[in-house]
Structures are given as structure tokens and as C-alpha cells.
Symmetry: C2
């Protein structure tokens, strides 16, 4: 049995489990986001800002995925929402079965919005469906405008692109219009937001869009 | 045959090929660096700065690894050194056999320093030896000080840490002393440089260290 065959089987098994997750989330009326990015693009800060803005408007829970440590879960737990940490122990992405196990400890009837923070990796998580309604890819302006072209799979599979750390634009030789152009070249359906999550800039626009999705029943 | 067994076999096979690469590089008196980082940490700019400083002191060649595009190879080729591009087509890391194929098109007798730029990924490339003398991990200050703790394997396996984009320190809430402390907590043997590759800050210190390695026969 070749390695390629094994890989295909792993992905098929994951897709089956992801479909089961998706059905379970739908029956609970949950909106589930799979938040992906390179390490250090600002996923956790964006989560904090999102929870801060939305916790009075929606019941939120978080699944944190990390290669090591529960540092991010500790950060998010301070905001008073339920958090489950998955430590992959070297694993480069979350898989549907890990998420199924993690949400087992949550009361999903008491949750409207489930935010899954994936491992920081712009490559591997693109291949693993978790049963989410959509992937949200976060790109820091400091990473440069060529990233959608160089890591196209993630941008192709995402529904939303959040261009984060726009407050650094004066100090990096990156053109945000070029990021947008490259991203839309890979995926013309991307909904794009610009944020500086640390100072909460642009977070309201993103959160209002999310609330509209929640209200519309994730249509 | 389980997935874990297959993974172990893949790694074993890679280690065998990496050992062959290492022997080949040694017989040619080559110093080979495997340069790794998250996407957008500044590997390519660091390469450009390094070539600029060292091309009169050493014969340099480059192997560029990318998921897609030859944008980086185009950038490096402008500096007049031989470049071979490996496009992994979705693959999240370079492997020893890809490097063996790539260097087949170089005249290694005419090279002193081979710089391999890996795929932007702080997780997977840690497991795949390419036959290099050392891994050099590049971390952008914009990524935050917790990265060595959250992605420890790469920092454990690297000999050198280059903290890049130090020019952004006034604009990000990151303490470079904390990056150092976390990195040395994971790997006390790390040699650490601080650079701003775009403005060439700190590049001389790094290049002088490299020249000393070259002169010492990579001891």
C-alpha cells in the first residue's frame, strides 16, 4: 500500500468525520468557524477582540488547537467563555476527530458561535475539513503581499480573509491593495476585512458581518 | 500497516537519503544551511542580504522550496548566483530526495555555501533532515514572543535563530529579550542574531559568523 493511498484514506476518513461534525453542529444551530493562519498572524488576539464585542450578542465557545502549550486557551479563558484546548503534540493541523472529541465536553445547546483556532500553519490545515461552516484565513500585513500566490490552497478554501496588523502598514513595504488583488486572483469569492486586532481597529465591521450570518441562520 | 508505521518509514527513508546528501556535501567541502520559518518571516530577504554581503567572499548557490510559484527564485536569481527552484505542489516541507534531485543540476565543486530555503512552515520541516550542516530558524518579531514555546521542535533542532524585523519592535508589543529567553529555554545551544534584513541591519554580524564557519571547515 503506497503512501499516497494511505494519505487518501486519511483524508477520506477525516471528510467522513467532518460531515458528521457538520450535521451535529447544524442540528444544534451552531455557526462554526475554522480560523487558520501562519504562526503569529494574530488569530488569538482576533478571537479575544471578537469575543469582547460579541459575548453580549451571542453565546460563544472556543476550541484552541496548538502544537504545544495551553497559552492561547489561558488567554481566551479570561474572557469568561468556555474553552477546550487540543494539544496536537507535534501535529501540524487539527483533524475532525480531535474536534469531535473536544466539543464532547461542551454543552452545544448553549452555544451559538463556535470559534476553532487551528494550529499556526498556512499549508496543512487547508486539507482537513473540521465540519466548519467556513474557514477564516488571517494574514498579517508583515507577512508580505505574495502569500496568497505562494500558499494558494488555504486562500482558495477560505470564505473570509482578514488582513490583520494594518497598523504596521506604515512600517512594512507592503501594499494592502496588492494583498487584496493576489487573494482575489486565487479566490474571487473571498469576503475581506482589514483589522488591527490589538487596537480593535476594523473589528466592529467583522463582528457585524458575523452577527448578520448568525441572524440569517448561516445562509 | 498503520499510518504511524508508514510515517515512520517515510521518515526513515528520508533520513537515509539525507545521510547520503550529507556525505556528498562533505566530499565537496560544502557548507549547507536549511533555512526555515513561518511564511513571511523574511527568509528570502535574508538570503538576498546574505548573498549581497558574501558573494565576493564565497561561491554561493541557492535551492528555493515553495508550495507554489517561483517568485523567490526570481528574486534570488537577480543576485547572479545559481538558483534551483523546487515547487512542492502543495507539499508542506522539503525532503532529502527533492534536494538531491535539485543539486543534481548544480556543479557542487564550484560552490562553497549552499543555502536551502525551505517551505514557510514552522511545524513540518522540523522532522525532515535534508543533509544540511545546520538548520537556521528565522522568526519575525511581528510573530510574537511565545512562538518558541508553541512550536518547540523547530527551535530544538535549529543551531541558529535569526530574530528578524527588529525594526518593527517599536510598533509591536513584543519584547526581544522574552523571545531570547523562550528560545533558550527550548534550546540553550542556539546561536542568536538580531536583524532587519530589509535595511540590512545586523546582517554583517550574521555573515561574519558564517564566514568563520566556512573558514573553519564547518567545525
Amino acid at each position: 500500500m503506497s503512501v499516497v493511498t494511505i494519505e487518501r484514506k486519511v483524508l477520506q476518513k477525516n471528510d467522513t468525520l467532518a460531515a458528521a461534525n457538520r450535521e451535529r453542529f447544524a442540528s444544534n444551530g451552531l455557526l462554526v468557524l475554522n480560523i487558520v493562519s501562519s504562526p503569529g498572524a494574530g488569530k488569538t488576539t482576533l478571537l479575544e477582540a471578537t469575543i469582547e464585542q460579541l459575548r453580549d450578542r451571542a453565546r460563544i465557545a472556543v476550541v484552541e488547537g496548538d502544537v504545544q502549550t495551553d497559552l492561547d486557551a489561558q488567554r481566551v479563558a479570561k474572557y469568561g467563555v468556555p474553552v477546550v484546548q487540543i494539544v496536537t503534540n507535534g501535529g501540524c493541523h487539527l483533524e475532525a476527530n480531535l474536534v469531535a472529541d473536544a466539543v464532547g465536553s461542551l454543552d452545544l445547546d448553549q452555544v451559538d458561535l463556535l470559534l476553532i483556532e487551528n494550529v499556526g500553519n498556512l499549508v496543512c490545515p487547508a486539507n482537513f475539513d473540521l465540519g466548519e461552516a467556513m474557514k477564516v484565513v488571517v494574514l498579517s500585513t508583515a507577512e508580505g503581499a505574495d502569500k496568497p500566490l505562494k500558499y494558494p490552497a488555504m486562500f482558495r478554501k477560505a470564505a473570509v480573509l482578514i488582513i490583520n496588523k494594518v497598523d504596521l502598514l506604515p512600517y512594512v513595504s507592503v501594499d494592502v491593495a496588492e494583498i487584496r488583488r493576489h487573494a482575489l486572483q486565487i479566490n474571487p469569492y473571498l469576503v475581506i476585512f482589514e483589522t488591527a486586532a490589538t487596537s480593535r481597529l476594523g473589528v466592529t465591521e467583522w463582528c457585524d458581518w458575523l452577527v448578520a450570518k448568525l441572524t440569517a441562520g448561516h445562509a
